[in-house]
Symmetry: C2
Subunit: 378 residues, 2 copies
């Protein structure tokens, strides 16, 4: 992956190419050995005026010299995760052997106001945005309801961000490497009550990529292949007000159930997880909807240190969206990159002790799409 | 499919829903039987401010009530065709059984100037559009070179449009039902020399959808299932100036070769074809690159009536992009709808006599992506 951050000197295509080529170098393959390219990207048409970036990246990574298939997949902020699933299915079903899958987003070439307008293209324009809702305000409603139903506190929300920044400080690719305190996070300027500035993930540029292959081929590439054990994707209503509950993402729980069943795993098997903490409340709902704790216990669990790197179940060792950064289409791939590094033992200062099973969870919009993958070492 | 045209009273979501539900009704299934949704769309983020329309359409067709997977695929104007391929692979590889795949675009909610700016997001922004190139001007360069190399005439270009309008006049869903003459087409106001107004397909709204299933299940739905016999997708450089030739689309010839080989067919087997005639020159290059005629013979062949409904190999019986309309993400699906109707014998006034094999060809940008499918009756 590339570093995440405000990368003024890099364009969408240079980011995508850098990540794609790095992944091929890491796998020890050349473009001659690749069968197809999948690209996750949320809104290059809005951010950079360029649609059809599957062909752009295929071209500039040398893949179109062989006229290889290149597919862009989009599902809001879950674009990278859905591209990863599509690429995985194409290999698992023996359509292709070696596939490169990448995610990229260049968000800082537009104004902050425009970036936030584009952000909101992942939620319901007709029934939410048109009436004044923003992405932060929708998540704020979830947070407020979660506080009402379960007694979740501002400090518990803050503890999600504190954990993220602590981990991000150990990640060379992270956008934010500064640690923060619960007090500072809880008192940060308000964005959409109860969510303050430090409850929100940033606007970021960045890209990440992976090489997928059948296990026999992967074993020739590396001594430490990581296996995709289960995969689930699910939708829910695009608009928040159509749901039975504001405090659970049904798309996440359904996707997780699919991924657990297909992998033969339960939440108890998971050693590390990367979850979609675009807002602190999302991190709390994620660990609940994934079955790591009972519904309502996410806040206390984050506060207790359960999800710290030294805790029972390290969550977002990368720094998560909050500290590693949030280049929309790249998120879902970066999560898998982090889990892969951890499972390989390549995570440097933030390495968890010998994890065997890792999980990723990525969300589009306010949960209109969720994607869960379970990975393991062999 | 919905009618194609300037549909002021319909939104992207109502178009997508109408086509999706119509396809399910035609297949005699309910949303309860569907396993997944694939959506082809080029630029809903630019045209309507709404990304993540996979979830929007899944929601409004009732599919997200069951939290079904929904995937949007984008490859410029080939978005629908690539979505069709992705959906096809998901069924052929037994990931899913019954899949709905749709394509939709709503282009008329923005100004004409903006629509053309969005159009150009499928070609190279950095090395083409930034320097003043437009989609018509890039195709005009191909046309000019084709005239230079092969003696193709303005009247031969015009004959592609004349054929399209003649067929469109028999298609209730077509945007243009008026017939035109070669003289009128050749003398129409210039857009980008040598391409005049009647060499160019229009700006359109519309949607189309299909139900895919394994053959044993399809046979329970209909007495006339249409089989996908071969599928190919290929890329080329995103920018025109990087190619060896301006008069052939290598992505089309590679995709066609894949589709022919997988289906065990040759161009001689094809009874009908829907090709990507976004400009008249594209129709000429398509019939050459697909192997229907020798390179350089596309113009004379159109002029001779070979590709008329009454000719040897009817092309674009729907009216093509030129007359049926050009709602970008819907094109690739609408092509398959037309071939399906023809192969089933359901094409009304424009029915060809008992075709057995049909082909579709769809292009993103200036050929950065091409997609070819071969279909047959059983």
């Amino acid at each position: 992956m590339t570093p995440f951050g405000e990368l003024w000197d890099r364009s969408l295509r240079t980011l995508g190419i850098e990540a794609g080529l790095n992944a091929m170098v890491d796998a020890g393959i050349t473009s001659e050995e690749v069968d197809a390219l999948y690209v996750g990207n949320m809104s290059s048409g809005r951010f950079t005026n360029q649609e059809h970036i599957s062909a752009v990246i295929a071209d500039h990574t040398g893949l179109s010299a062989r006229n290889l298939p290149a597919i862009r997949v989009e599902a809001g902020e879950a674009s990278g995760a859905v591209a990863f699933r599509d690429a995985y299915l194409s290999v698992a079903s023996e359509v292709y052997d070696i596939v490169v899958v990448g995610g990229a987003e260049k968000m800082t070439d537009v104004s902050d106001a425009m970036a936030h307008e584009i952000f909101a293209t992942s939620v319901d324009q007709q029934w939410e945005v048109f009436l004044g809702a923003t992405v932060p305000s929708l998540y704020a409603m979830m947070a407020r309801r979660h506080m009402h139903e379960y007694g979740t506190t501002k400090e518990q929300l803050a503890s999600v961000a504190v954990n993220a920044h602590k981990n991000g400080s150990k990640n060379p690719n992270a956008q934010f490497k500064n640690q923060i305190s619960v007090e500072a996070a809880a008192k940060a300027g308000m964005v959409a009550s109860p969510l303050g500035m430090l409850d929100c993930a940033p606007i970021s540029d960045g890209a990440a990529a992976l090489v997928l292959a059948p296990l026999d081929i992967a074993k020739r590439m590396t001594d430490h292949p990581v296996v995709i054990a289960g995969s689930g994707v699910a939708t829910d209503t695009i608009s928040l007000h159509h749901r039975e509950s504001l405090t659970t993402m049904r798309s996440t729980s359904v996707a997780a159930d699919l991924a657990y069943r297909r992998s033969g795993m339960t939440p108890e098997h998971v050693d590390i997880a990367e979850v979609h903490d675009n807002f602190t409340i999302s991190g709390i709902m994620a660990v609940e909807d994934l079955g790591f704790v009972e519904k309502g216990q996410g806040g206390p669990a984050f506060e207790s240190g359960k999800f710290d790197i030294e805790g029972d179940l390290p969550v977002n060792t990368s720094g998560g969206l909050k500290a590693q950064g949030q280049p929309l289409g790249a998120i879902g791939i970066a999560q898998v990159v982090e889990v892969t590094r951890q499972l390989r033992g390549d995570a440097g200062d933030r390495q968890v002790d010998s994890p065997q099973v890792g999980l990723t969870q990525c969300v589009g919009g306010t949960g209109g799409t969720s994607v869960v993958h379970v990975m393991k070492v062999i």
